[in-house]
């Protein structure tokens, strides 16, 4: 695998995760539990879309086949998408949405905090810009995890259920393959083994405050590094891509 090929795949991993998580959060727009939270979630979705946009645009340049960010977003199938499985999980109730966001925010925070040191200037610049937004996202989601875990009996049990559904998708975020080893050698990518303990500490700290426990079953699902997804992604993409695919000659 050449550096260029590895970088392209690495960028898809990052861009697709932001893209799909943004798409999921956007489903809440107009349907949030109250107006202020509706706006907050939409804001997060917008930030993630902005990140996806820059990363996929750069991915297109790196690939060098003239594909734009829209070509990459709207004209790839689910077997060519590399987003983390957790991002595509259904919104469920607000507890599940918030917990999904918290796991992703905590990952992104420590991940992009490291990636600002990347030898790839573009990647470093994108990370520097993203980290400002992610800092706010993490503050938002962790405060809500604490609130819902500690709120009422109902909110606590909803959080426990969300934990049970989502925990199994957190392990693969730290998985590394040839893409990583090629890029780590060049100082472009970062070692996810170094991100992991930071993520675990943060999660432990917030869950403790929220009086929530990690589920007994700690088996981890995997697959996104090989573009093998849960059944959700196909539906997300068919909805998202329907218009550009039905009128392939059209410009929007």
């Amino acid at each position: 695998m050449t550096t260029k090929e590895a970088l392209f795949k690495y960028l898809l991993r990052l861009g697709d995760t932001s893209m799909i998580l943004a798409q999921r959060n956007a489903e809440w727009c107009g349907h949030g539990p109250f107006l202020e939270e509706d706006l907050a979630l939409t804001n997060i979705s917008l930030d993630l879309l902005g990140q996806a946009n820059s990363i996929l645009q750069y991915a297109g340049q790196v690939e060098g086949k003239g594909r734009t960010e829209d070509d990459l977003a709207f004209h790839r199938t689910e077997r060519e998408y590399y987003n983390h499985l957790i991002a595509e999980q259904a919104n469920g109730d607000y507890a599940k949405t918030i917990l999904r966001q918290f796991f992703c925010d905590a990952f992104d925070f420590y991940f992009y905090s490291e990636l600002v040191k990347s030898k790839d200037e573009m990647l470093a610049a994108i990370s520097a810009k993203s980290i400002k937004e992610i800092t706010y996202h993490l503050r938002h989601s962790s405060s809500w995890v604490e609130r819902l875990g500690n709120g009422t009996d109902e909110s606590h049990s909803r959080m426990e259920k969300a934990m049970d559904e989502l925990w199994r998708f957190t392990g693969e975020m730290f998985e590394m393959n040839e893409v990583d080893s090629v890029l780590i050698k060049e100082g472009i990518a970062i070692d996810l083994n170094a991100v992991r303990p930071k993520w675990e500490n943060k999660v432990k700290e917030v869950l403790e405050k929220a009086t929530l426990k990690i589920p007994a079953n700690t088996f981890m699902q995997r697959g996104s590094r090989d573009a093998k997804h849960t059944e959700h992604l196909g539906f997300i993409l068919s909805e998202m891509q329907s218009l550009p695919r039905s009128l392939p000659d059209a410009k929007w």
Binding site: Q23, C29, G30, F34, L49, R147, S155, L247, A250
Partner: protein, 312 residues
Amino acid sequence: MDIKQLETNFDAKLSKNENIEPKDWMPDNYRKHLIRQISQHAHSEIVGMLPEGNWITRAPSLRAKMILLAKVQDEGGHGLYLYTASESLNISRDDLLEQLHTGKAKYSSIFNYPTLTWADIGAIGWLVDGAAIMNQVMLQRTSYGPYARAMVRICKEESFHQRQGYEIMCKLSVGTKEQKEMAQDALNRFWWPTLMMFGPPDAESSNSENAIKWKIKRESNDQLRQRFVNQTVPQAELIGLTIPDKNLKWNEAKNGYDFGEPDWTEFNNVIHGNGPCNKERLGARIKAHEQGRWVREAAMAFAEKKKERVAA
């Protein structure tokens, strides 16, 4: 001060075009009228998020998705300012939402029409936000201070929305055959409901008279409608779209267009709950509110616990 004196002071303020502020004395009917109008306006912003929200997950490019998402978010922000302005008249947001959910309060009937194609997103920005601006520019000079100030902020964003909507229509109208048809079809479906947004003809408008006397409204429904038509027809022509009105004709003498009469029977049907999406729109709002109840309760319970902990 006796009531006569208070009324005289109030009228004097109005005639000097001074704003009425929350702490000022105001006639009961003025307050009621304002609560009705501002909350209806707030509800329209919130319900208005739904038809456009319907296309967020299907917007055809990343840029289009970001613009639409930001637009719908702006509308939510407008709802927030307006609920705050209503609250300054001593009514809580909970009470206002209750009125919306029980059907006691209305919202703009335009949002009871479905968004069937992507071009509808263009048409709504261009026409619906365009019509809203006519109304809102006037309301920047409305007599109630908090309402007038909310409008100043809102108007800036609305003109942005209108430009973005028109841009979608421009792109479609120079696009493929399917895109052009989509644009014309959206205009055909949204033209008349947009004209209805200004309300019934002046001769039949029950609330207009007081609103004008109190300087809440400064122009009549028909005046605003005429101004909207005059502004919009050339915009349609510029991008090769046809206004679906056989009676549309330039009238040199009045320096404006003559145009046909909207179908007021349809308008009344929609107002009375029988538009294509009334049930869906209200249903979606009620569902969001009910499914959000446990979240709001949890947030309150948590805040209480925190307070206790600080006190302990």
